[in-house]
Amino acid sequence: MKRKIVLLLLTLLAALLVACVQEEPEEPAAPAEEPTEAPEVDEEEPAEEEGEAEEEAPAEEETETEGEAPETVRIGVVYPLTGALAATGVASQDAFLLAAEIVNNEYPDLNLPMAAEAGITCLDNAQVELVFADHQMSPEIGASETERLITEENVVAILGAYASAVSNTASQAAERLGIPFVNAQSTSPALHQRGFQWYFRTTPHDAIFSELMFQFLADLRDQGTEINTVATIYENTLFGSDSSETQNQFAEQYGFEVVANIAYPSGTADMTSEVQQLIAADPDVVLPTSYVADAILMMRTFEAQNYSPEAILAQGVGFTEGSFLETVGATGNYIISREVFALDLQENKPIIGEVNTMFSEMYDRDLEGATARSFTALLVLADAINRACSTEPEAIRQALLETDIPSEQIIMPWEGVRFDPETGQNVLGTGIMVQALDGQYQTVWPFELATQELVWPYPAWDER
């Protein structure tokens, strides 16, 4: 009897653990399947909650915003501060803190929004206060923490949530409660197409990146490099599957043949079967979309299986995260990735170097794609609050819609920040291609921004 109970408990725990290891449930699939499969799940009564919340929220805010300008403006930050993505989350936390430091104090020498004077000038120099919450890579926790920040911590806006699957649910909570949600890093293209009023995304999304990747391949092909086939390999949550889907569309548009689409479970123990499928498909270019643990394991498996395609062209993220190249060492060389940011861009944009000097002095690491975008997102939001001259959510939303920050004032390679009024997507975002050379990602495309010459094809493992 006892053993049976243990077995039962073990099964339950195993199921629980699976859920944890998988991190994000498959968001996009759920809405389509739920009604047919599990009608009884509806017990959660989302409709009622919604009504209540909508009534409550505005009232609360009015009482708060009436009267004198506040001394502090509280901004909620929902990021993964523990769990598999903790390193990225904590690094982003540092970047937000640096951005807040720049907003709250006088940095007249920095050509950045909100740098010259102290605090939110229009609100009597109110200080920006960041309220951090940890979503542990769970969409459920992301939503509940967002709600908590809004209803209990009285934040005027939310910055979140890194992982697309979590941004998806967290921004739903913000939408429901009518608070601006500024998304700095999530790149799933589905996110800005939900018809939300309160969702703003500063970063370019995967469709833009994917198109850039194919423009890059097409550029190379025009120069005479022979590239015909590609294969995608991607983690099977929202981020990976959206990325693969858009890559398939652009492959067709740009005339490349997709010979395999390989989905794998994130946090897998072994990647042999994935890599063997790639070997069997034999594409010219492998297009991985992965978080960092899988990226490490994938590169180690490529090396172990002696697999070298013509090129590995990654959808950033796991492959470009700060710790990745450092961790894998020489194994990471010659990977090409789309990137939102590279430090060598400072040759063309000195402001990047100035901010990076501050960041590395304070936190002992350089800026990279994730941190640079966190930094930028807070400045964009602070700029909007300042122009709104209010902590009233609707005013901030209007100000965000009118955002127009020029390229010179951001530390990204973008042409600026301006949100599409329908979708909340920054329409001026763009990216670059970088290649890992001697343990550093260097800009190799667009060719006019390149600081290093592209190494193509990917050298065989034995010839390095």
């Binding site: 006892k2 053993r3 049976k4 109970i5 243990v6 077995l7 408990l9 073990l10 099964t11 725990l13 195993a14 653990l17 699976v18 944890c20 290891v21 523990t82 769990g83 598999a84 903790a86 390193a87 904590v90 099977n236 390989i262 989905a263 794998y264 479970p265 946090g267 897998t268 123990a269 072994d270 990647m271 042999t272 079967s273 994935e274 063997q276 499928q277 070997i279 069997a280 960092v292 643990a293 490490i296 394991l297 180690r300 090396e303 172990a304 299986q305 002696n306 710790s323 990745f324 961790t327 894998v328 060492g329 020489a330």
Partner: protein
């Protein structure tokens, strides 16, 4: 039908990773077999041993191969201490307490690891065991090959120890009937501590071998622990040969289903297999009860 070379490569990799799963599961099954307590923190023991060899490498340039004995020793002590400090006090407590005490240990160890060693991914960049061999047209990563063989040998050693030595028989006696064993003059508490020591030492070996090629991270244990639970249930609670067989089966099912169906479904296949075994043969493949 895929290329024969690719297929053999897939099967070889499945067996390799299967041996590792087996060794992790053997540690779990030894503890369970003797004490009827599931060590939910088993994956975290694995994580600890990976960090032991990592720090030996990072701080003293001691290669994982030489770090292995240290890791075994450290983990043996960790196992014994876990028994003495955490498990023994709840031996007479309700069963739920016995279950949650190791769950608590799991959360605690993950938290401590993240606090002390930061949530950064670590990798041993240039282990002695690097590079790869070509054996009959198959690529064999030296690190993975050695890990697989090491895991197999360790599993065999544990089996020999439990079946053939006097102490091992004493362990079995305690597992079968604690009171009768005590009457025969066997110190059951010492045997419990030994079971925990052996169980943890098994992942001490597994972790040191894995560290040669696997990333090291505070939650790396969950990746393997989950599969180890399945392997233990599949092979039969408390059965060392069962854990070995189950480990290899899981390794093979995983890579083959990943290759032939889709990698996204490999865990589905493994757990479906587990469910079938639990329903059809709840005692596991080689279980005796």
């Amino acid at each position: 039908m895929p290329d024969l070379a690719i297929l053999s490569q897939v099967i070889l990799s499945g067996i390799f990773i299967g041996f590792i799963y087996a060794l992790v599961s053997v540690g779990l099954t030894v503890i369970y077999g003797v004490m009827d307590i599931v060590n939910f923190a088993h994956g975290e023991f694995l994580m600890l041993s990976m960090y032991v060899v990592f720090w030996l490498y990072a701080l003293f340039r001691i290669d994982p191969i030489f770090g292995l004995p240290v890791s075994v020793l450290v983990l043996f002590v960790v196992g014994v201490l876990t028994h003495k400090l955490i498990v023994r006090p709840v031996l007479d407590a309700p069963m739920s307490a016995q279950i949650f005490v190791t769950c608590g240990l799991l959360v605690y160890l993950q938290g401590v690891a993240q606090f002390l060693w930061s949530p950064s991914y670590r990798l041993i960049q240039e282990p002695l065991l690097s590079g790869r061999l070509q054996v009959a047209g198959l690529n064999v990563s030296l690190a993975q090959g050695v890990a697989a063989i090491g895991a197999l040998l360790t599993t065999a050693f544990v089996y020999w120890f439990i079946e053939k030595t006097e102490t091992g028989r004493a362990l079995q006696a305690v597992a079968e009937d604690r009171q009768a064993a005590s009457l025969m003059g066997i110190n059951s508490d010492r045997m419990f501590a030994l079971a925990w020591g052996i169980g943890a030492a098994c992942v001490g070996v597994a972790g040191a071998l894995l560290a040669n090629y696997y990333y090291i991270f505070p939650t790396v244990g969950t990746v393997f622990a989950l599969i180890a639970f399945v392997a233990v249930a599949l092979g039969g609670f408390g059965s060392v040969p069962g854990a070995l067989v189950a480990g290899i089966i899981i390794g093979l099912v995983e890579v083959l289903s990943g290759f032939f169906i889709a990698p996204a479904y490999k865990e589905v296949t493994v757990f479906a297999l587990y469910l079938v075994v639990v329903l059809v043969r709840p005692q596991g493949l080689l279980g005796e009860w």
